[in-house]
Symmetry: C2
DNA sequence: TGCGGATGCTTTAATCTTGAAATACAGGCA
DNA sequence: TGCCTGTATTTCAAGATTAAAGCATCCGCA
C-alpha cells in the first residue's frame, strides 16, 4: 500500500477515534452531571488521587491527566472548597504541594466510580471480549509513551 | 467471563482510549499552534465546512462536531473576524444561518489539511495496516450512532 | 387563520483549558 | 558560599465548552 493511502487510512481512523471518544465522554459528562452534580475534570482528578494513598503533587497530577499545570490549579481549588481534597506542604520540597482525597472525597468517589464503571460498560455494550482485546493491543502500540517527547511522562521517583 | 470482569476490562480499555486520544489531540493542537497559529476547534470547523460546498447551518456544524450549539457560535464568530468563513441568511428558514468557507479560508485550510494528515500519520506511525483495519472495525461497533439518543445525529434532509 | 409545540440561534454564567509570564525554591558547580 | 539553571506552582488573558434561558421563526393541525 502506498504511503499516501496509508496516511489517508490513518486520518480516517483517527477521525473515527476522536468522534467515538467525544461521544462517550459526552455521555459520561451528562451522567456525572445529572446523577452526581459534578464534572468530568473533577472526576478525573479524584480518580487519579484515589490510587495514591500518600497523595500527588500538582505536577504529577497534570502529567497523569495530560493537562496543563495551570489547569490543575483551578480544578483542585474548587475541589478544596468542597472539602473533597486537601492540600499540604511537601516536607522535602518547599515548592511543591501534596494533594490528597479527604475521607469525604474518598467516600463520594467510591459511589461515583461504581456508577462510572457501569456507564462505561453500557456505552461499550456492543464490544465483546475479543473486541476489547483487539482494541487494547492496538492502543498499546499507539500509546502516549510512544508519542512525541513533550507528551511523555517521566517515571515516578 | 463474568459481567463484572467484563466491566472492568471495558473501563480499562476506555481509559486507555481516552489517554491515547488526548495525547494525539495535544500533539495536533501544538502543531497547529506553532505552524499555523490556529487552534484545533477552528481547524475542526473548517474541516467540516470544506466538504460542504453549499455551507452548513450552525446546528449541522454542532451535530457533526459533537459540540454544543453555543460553542459553535463563538468559534464561527472568530473565524468570521479573520475572514476565513462567511455567514449568510438561509433563504427558506429565517432562523437559520448558512456558514461557508471563504476562498481565503479554503486556501488556508488546504495547506493546513495536508500538514495535518501528515502529522496524524506520524503520530500513528507504529500502527500497520492490519492495526488500522482492526481499529476501524472495533470503532464501527462502538460508534456514536450506537450510543445514547441525545448523541445521535439525525440524517440530512 | 391562529394556536402551540418544536427548532435554530445567540446570550449568559460558570467551568475548563491552554500557553506564557512571574515567583519561589532546589541543586549542581565554580 | 554564591551563582545559574532547572523545577513546582500560581496567575493571567484568551479561547473553548457546556447547560440553560430567551428570542425568533417554523410547522402541523384544529
Amino acid at each position: 500500500m502506498s504511503a499516501r493511502a496509508d496516511a489517508k487510512d490513518k486520518l480516517r481512523v483517527w477521525l473515527r477515534l476522536l468522534r467515538t471518544t467525544r461521544a462517550v465522554e459526552g455521555a459520561l459528562r451528562e451522567s456525572l452531571r445529572t446523577n452526581f452534580d459534578t464534572t468530568l475534570p473533577r472526576f478525573d482528578v479524584m480518580a487519579a488521587l484515589v490510587r495514591a494513598e500518600a497523595g500527588l503533587t500538582m505536577t504529577a497530577l497534570s502529567r497523569q491527566l495530560l493537562v496543563s499545570n495551570g489547569n490543575v490549579t483551578g480544578i483542585v481549588e474548587r475541589l478544596v472548597v468542597d472539602r473533597l481534597v486537601s492540600r499540604a506542604d511537601e516536607a522535602r520540597d518547599k515548592r511543591a504541594t501534596r494533594v490528597r482525597l479527604t475521607s469525604k472525597g474518598r467516600a463520594e468517589f467510591a459511589t461515583m466510580a461504581a456508577a462510572h464503571e457501569m456507564w462505561v460498560a453500557q456505552l461499550l455494550d456492543r464490544l465483546d471480549a475479543a473486541d476489547v482485546r483487539a482494541l487494547t493491543s492496538v492502543l498499546a502500540k499507539a500509546a502516549p509513551e510512544h508519542l512525541p517527547d513533550h507528551l511523555n511522562e517521566p517515571e515516578a521517583p
